[in-house]
């Protein structure tokens, strides 16, 4: 998250800050647990008197902290895919992270586009995975495919050979998988040893995941067999380049910044900071209760709006009295009435050095259609 926040803050401060104020990123550790996240959130509110906005937290910690931030009238950019926010009613909660159930549909669409018809769905029994499966099955079937095997895995077991054998007995031509890093790594390693890999469509996202899975099956196999479906980063160019440069330039604050270049979440965090900053300028206030309602105004598309690709462009356009649409490093942003913005997905192939190359996009319209 620092890899998104720090580059954004650096650029904003270089461009003069927000309404004369310099921004800073501070960290609060939620310790991966909703019960620990509540004191973390309230401690943050108590100790940071100049708090202007929150990035995160993720998953069920968001459920526990959203009411606190909302009651305190503090704008938060949630980092959760949980379905509990699909029809979010907290005015101060915003989400660029796509909902987990939408991701399932995106995986199904990509699988059908690549011509697979007999799919195995193997998901860990943890949070995101359980939300993905129903939409994946529904969409894949609707698009004319068959789910031949649908298994739920207990996490972090000693091996998954029997589960692999069960799956292979149904002769799938593609494997949809999502679980925690250890589980996915062991399952795929077992598959490789027993039969050889088959095409895999996963959601492998971060460095830890790549290390675990890539380490278990090898970089070459990762390249040959594994396609990962992730939120649209978009080869939109300008914004992404600005972000990448700012990230690499922040080497003294972000350890090994280049490792985050292909991480899908960092540009989203970068965008979130820019959105907060631009809406403050549009509202002429750094108080969340004032600027909060300006967030869609600086992000959503609209006729006559000027497209801006960085904070600096945005503040200049606003100063010139223009209506702006901030195009993010993570793609186009379009908040709906539930403060959710989902702009589609993208498929990636891993290269031998662990970086990723885009294979194509799955637009949000197609997902909505397959989901209906």
């Amino acid at each position: 998250m620092a890899a998104g926040c720090i580059p954004a803050v650096n650029l904003i401060n270089q461009a003069g800050g927000v309404l004369g104020h310099k921004l800073e990123c501070v960290v609060a550790d939620t310790r991966g647990d909703p019960a620990d996240a509540v004191p973390a959130a309230s401690q943050l509110l108590a100790t940071q008197s100049n708090l202007v906005g929150i990035l995160g937290p993720s998953s069920d910690e968001a459920d526990a902290t959203a009411p606190i931030f909302n009651d305190s009238k503090m704008t938060m950019m949630g980092d959760t895919g949980a379905a509990s926010f699909d029809q979010n009613a907290y005015p101060y909660f915003w989400r660029l992270t796509p909902a987990d159930d939408v991701k399932g549909t995106a995986m199904a669409i990509w699988g059908r586009q690549k011509g697979f018809s007999h799919a195995a769905a193997v998901f860990g029994n943890d949070i995101g995975s359980q939300t993905d499966v129903p939409t994946l099955v529904k969409a894949f079937t609707k698009l004319g495919g068959t789910i031949v095997s649908n298994e739920s895995l207990a996490l972090d077991q000693g091996d998954y050979r029997t589960e692999v054998a069960r799956m292979l007995a149904t002769n799938p031509d593609v494997l949809f998988i999502e679980a925690d890093a250890q589980t996915e790594a062991t399952f795929l390693a077992n598959l490789k040893d027993l039969h050889g890999l088959i095409p895999v469509i996963g959601t492998s996202l971060d460095q830890a995941m790549y290390q675990a899975v890539g380490g278990a099956i090898g970089a070459q196999n990762m390249h040959d067999f594994y396609t990962t479906i992730r939120p649209l980063i978009g080869s939109l160019g300008t914004s992404t380049k600005t972000y990448d440069q700012a990230l690499l330039a922040s080497g003294s604050q972000v350890p090994k910044p280049d490792q985050w270049i292909s991480d899908p979440f960092c540009p989203a965090h970068y965008d979130e900071v820019n959105l907060l900053a631009l809406s403050m300028i549009a509202a002429n206030s750094t108080t969340p209760s004032t600027y909060n309602s300006y967030i869609p105004q600086v992000a959503n598309p609209g006729s006559g709006k000027t497209l801006v690709y960085s904070f600096d462009e945005g503040q200049k356009a606003l100063a010139a009295g223009k209506q702006i649409q901030y195009v993010g490093a993570s793609g186009f942003i379009d908040f709906n009435k539930f403060n959710n913005s989902t702009t589609g997905f993208e498929a990636f192939q891993f290269q031998l050095d662990g970086s990723t190359v885009s294979l194509g996009t799955i637009p949000i319209d197609e997902i909505t259609q397959a989901n209906s």
């Binding site: 401690q43 008197s49 069920d60 509990s84 949070i127």
Partner: protein
């Protein structure tokens, strides 16, 4: 004090109350009776789920979460029900695990019970919404009282304090009564207690059930406050913190245990939030667990009876009967 500080401090006070209650319940099982319940968090969870389900209303009304037997019962019925479910689950688990098993077997069986419970809660999605857990649990009496944010926080602190007092009176009564003496006798020498004609298994089960009821209530107080509960974090480490609190405070002594609950989960773990971040994310967390482990070892070595030791009881005459 600023609103935000009031908010933080009131939250911590609620957590303190929950931890103190949980430690009293565990102390009744472990400190007083000698049962190594490494599954304690499961009974807390059972209470939390019960309270959440009985507050959330019917499952069919929710778009994103599914659970069994939802209802919309008024305060304080969900909390009382949570205690009842904690007790009932303890009765079932205790009946199967407390018979004739050595203390180390019991410890292992409890680890297994907690693994089974986590597996069932995550895999049976229609039971308590699987690993996503339950969320958006309404706060008790918030509609009726119509307080602003900070005042509601203080109301909840008061509510927690009242429940703490009730639980304290209860555990105090139990530990000083003849029942408490019997339980300590079983802890100190099971065979002598049995030789005196005490039904060791039945007394153990009784302590286990009472402790389980308190665990359930503490879980309910917590979930009604934070509004969400998920099985993701029921590791043995969470229970170990409570054990450490009991050891540090004074095994078997209710007052000592309350001090332990203040020192370990609240002061010790909360203080690290004020440290500046060092190293990679998660490093402080890892070092903090190392520190909790060292703290437990230090006390077991240097002050095994804790900050406020259990009083040694002397009797002039042998008790009649």
């Amino acid at each position: 004090m600023s609103i935000a500080w009031q908010f933080y401090i009131s939250s911590i006070l609620v957590y303190l109350g929950v931890d103190v209650m949980a430690c009293w319940g565990l102390n009744l099982q472990f400190g007083v009776t000698g049962i190594m319940n490494f599954a304690y968090i499961v009974f807390q969870a059972a209470g939390a789920y019960t309270a959440a389900i009985l507050t959330l209303g019917p499952s069919s009304r929710s778009l994103f979460q599914h659970y069994i037997g939802g209802a919309n019962l008024p305060f304080p019925i969900p909390i009382i029900a949570a205690g009842a479910v904690g007790a009932l689950l303890s009765l079932v688990v205790g009946t199967f695990t407390l018979r004739r098993l050595r203390v180390d077997y019991q410890a292992m069986v409890m680890l297994i019970v907690s693994l089974i419970a986590i597996n069932v809660a995550t895999n049976q999605v229609d039971l308590v919404n699987g690993s996503a857990g339950l969320s958006l649990v309404p706060k008790p009496l918030s509609q009726v009282l119509n307080l602003d944010l900070v005042n509601y926080q203080w109301f909840y602190v008061a509510l927690t304090a009242v429940v703490c007092v009730i639980v304290f009176l209860f555990v105090h009564q139990v530990t000083r009564s003849p029942l408490g003496r019997t339980l300590r006798a079983i802890r100190d020498n099971e065979h002598s207690a049995a030789a005196l004609g005490k039904n060791v298994t039945r007394f153990r089960l009784l302590a286990f059930v009472l402790g389980g009821a308190i665990a359930g209530v503490s879980g309910a107080i917590l979930v009604e406050f934070i509004g969400t509960w998920a099985p993701g974090s029921w590791t043995y480490a969470e229970t170990f913190v409570l054990f450490t609190a009991i050891i540090v405070g004074g095994t078997g002594n209710n007052l000592g245990v309350a001090v332990g609950a203040l020192l370990v989960p609240v002061v010790f773990l909360e203080a690290t939030r004020f440290l500046p971040p060092i190293g990679y994310p998660g490093l402080i967390d890892a070092l903090q667990w190392v520190a909790v482990g060292l703290l437990a070892l230090l006390f077991l070595w240097r002050w095994p009876r804790g900050v406020i030791p259990e009083r040694r009881r002397r009797f002039r005459k042998p008790a009649p009967g």
